[in-house]
């Protein structure tokens, strides 16, 4: 037995191995897809995330069955917490659901591919550079794609601005309309408290070439996370002016806001 197979047998529980193998994905002969997703690597990621999801953040997910079992779908959520933990937890919730699990693809900041090891690792776990062409091609391939329309405006916001939705880009709505992909809104509650930041040192961020440099404790706090998946929203593909597209985006934003309020009311305590 090679070292790799030995490690795999020790680290990856048989149920996870079987669970991942059961999910059908468009991959090549060596287990990769064009974006770098790797069917073997994700088993390690899934095993680790299970611990983080169940033990550390004790995630409560409601309505994950709202994500259709197949076909293109956009999972749109609020972004928070400095690190893309929310994408990881939403992805795990969908990939681990008992009925018809799917491995969704998370769109990540453009900065990540330039980071050694981390960039490749994220790709192997299914994350994809947040580029409209990537998103379009994945929807055309019938994938489930997680998008945070707030981008770094959301993830980099300060603790004092928690649960206030920042401006949503319109790009996801254009793609949803073009590829007739339903939108499943998700309200994430709890990630705001994982790395509360009190300030952002912009000159430092600029010098380092990173989106933001938060002043925060160097730990990820074990806040309890609530994920609320809303019912799918369908939009037609009619040629409409941009202001009507913005109105549709606002509908999604309002629904996410409602789901956040639901999560906040369900939450008994922060940790």
């Amino acid at each position: 037995m090679s070292l790799a197979s030995y490690l795999k047998s020790k680290l990856i529980p048989a149920d996870i191995d079987e669970h991942i193998n059961r999910i059908r994905k468009p991959i090549g002969s060596l287990g990769y897809d064009p974006w770098g997703y790797n069917n073997e690597a994700i088993k390690y990621g899934f095993t680790l995330t299970r611990q983080i999801y169940e033990k550390y953040f004790r995630v409560e997910a409601h309505g994950v069955e709202n994500v259709p079992a197949e076909g293109p779908v956009l999972i749109i959520a609020n972004h928070s917490g400095q690190l893309p933990l929310d994408g990881l937890l939403i992805g795990y919730a969908l990939a681990s659901r008992k009925q018809q699990p799917r491995i969704p693809r998370a769109m990540i900041e453009r900065f990540f591919p330039t980071v050694p090891w981390l960039g490749n690792l994220l790709n192997e776990f299914g994350a994809v550079l947040g580029d409209p062409v990537n998103c379009a091609k994945m929807l055309a391939n019938g994938e489930a794609v997680i998008v945070f329309p707030e981008g770094v405006r959301g993830s980099g916001k300060l603790y004092q601005d928690r649960y206030q939705l920042k401006r949503f880009g319109n790009g996801f709505m254009h793609l949803a309309m073009k590829y007739k992909a339903p939108i499943v809104p998700v309200g994430v509650v709890g990630c705001e408290e994982t790395i509360p930041a009190i300030a952002n040192i912009k000159p430092l961020a600029k010098a380092l070439g990173i989106p933001y440099a938060p002043v925060a404790l160097p730990v990820v706090l074990p806040a309890k996370v609530h994920l609320n998946f809303g019912p799918p929203m369908y939009f037609d593909d009619l040629e409409i002016p941009e202001e009507l597209v913005t109105e549709r985006v606002e509908q999604v934003k309002a629904e996410i806001s409602r789901l956040i309020d639901k999560g906040l009311s369900e939450r008994k305590k922060l940790f």
Partner: protein
């Protein structure tokens, strides 16, 4: 009834393994003439073979003498060969001369081999790049300028002279027995450099599949630009592992460090101007070509890598 004339085809880059594969597929049905910029190769008594500089006047004599119907232009000097100036002369000016002569002598079909390098490897590349994407390579390194200019030139002729029926092919990494490009040298080596922490997705096409693609292209006169790549992908470092290469990591950050190291070492198999291609992915979408020319590669990645694993020390 007069006997039907066999097509007369000029094949450039005859010293390369790819051209020789194409020639062996076409020689039974076509009258071929082989030329190469670098050396004269013997391809049998039935195929005249010349070592010729396309920019010289004597090149035109071949067009007068053989009355070509088509040209398969595979004679591209790769970015790892010759100096920048000689490469520019051969690739850009040589191609221009070839296309001018093709127009002058009424050639009806031209196939030009380009490369996926023209897209350029940048961190923000999406995957499955299609043919309409901008060509960013020239902005990355002056050593790739000739590749982009060759393309631009062929594109101009494609639209200006539709009767030439030009098809430009942009293949992914061509590998396999006899291939002498950068990627093939790396896969065939015992030790291969990698940039620490970077293992971009790559695509590989077997030389025999690529030869099939070129022959299919020649036979169907559809103008345009096409990516040629199988629908299979692998990370660079994983490919090296499957080929039995020991990976030698080169420090990758800050970005000036690998460039400095590679410029100092001057490794032929890992040139500094291709650094970006070992850092960021350039995954192309070959589906348009597959559809148009009914092309399906027959040699899987595992077979390609097995060849390199089993031939580490070629006799």
């Amino acid at each position: 009834m007069a006997k039907q004339r066999r097509p007369h085809i000029l094949v450039t880059g005859a010293a390369g393994a790819l051209a020789q594969r194409v020639i062996s597929q076409l020689r039974d049905h076509c009258d071929l003439v082989a030329v190469d910029f670098r050396e004269q190769v013997y391809l049998g008594d039935d195929i005249p073979s010349y070592c010729i500089d396309f920019t010289k006047r004597v090149f035109e004599d071949l067009f007068r003498r053989y009355e070509f119907d088509g040209v398969i232009h595979l004679g591209r000097i790769q970015s790892s060969q010759l100096t920048r100036m000689r490469r520019y002369n051969a690739n850009v000016l040589g191609t221009q001369k070839l296309l001018d002569l093709s127009h002058k002598y009424g050639i009806k079909r031209v196939v030009v081999l380009s490369t996926y390098h023209v897209y350029g490897a940048v961190a923000y590349n999406p995957a499955l790049i299609d043919e309409s994407a901008p060509l960013k390579a020239a902005g990355l390194s002056a050593d790739l300028v000739d590749s982009v200019e060759l393309e631009n030139l062929a594109n101009i002729y494609l639209w200006r002279y539709p009767e030439l029926n030009i098809t430009i092919l942009r293949p992914c990494n061509i590998v396999g027995p006899g291939v002498r490009n950068t990627m093939s040298s790396l896969l065939g080596s015992e030790n291969a450099p990698v940039l620490a922490g970077f293992s971009p997705m790559m695509q590989f096409i077997h030389i025999d599949d690529m030869a099939d693609a070129i022959v299919k292209t020649y036979k169907k006169p559809v103008r345009g630009v096409y990516n040629v790549a199988p629908e299979d992908w692998v990370a660079y470092q994983h490919a090296l592992k499957l080929c039995g290469c020991r990976r030698i990591p080169i420090p990758s950050i800050p970005p000036v460090v690998p460039n400095l190291i590679l410029k100092t070492l001057k490794l032929k198999s890992f040139p500094s101007y291709l650094t970006a291609f070992f850092k960021y992915p350039v995954v192309i979408d070959g589906r348009a070509f597959a559809r148009e020319f009914e092309f399906k590669p027959n040699r899987p990645l595992k077979e390609i890598f097995r060849f390199y694993r089993e031939n580490k020390r070629p006799v």
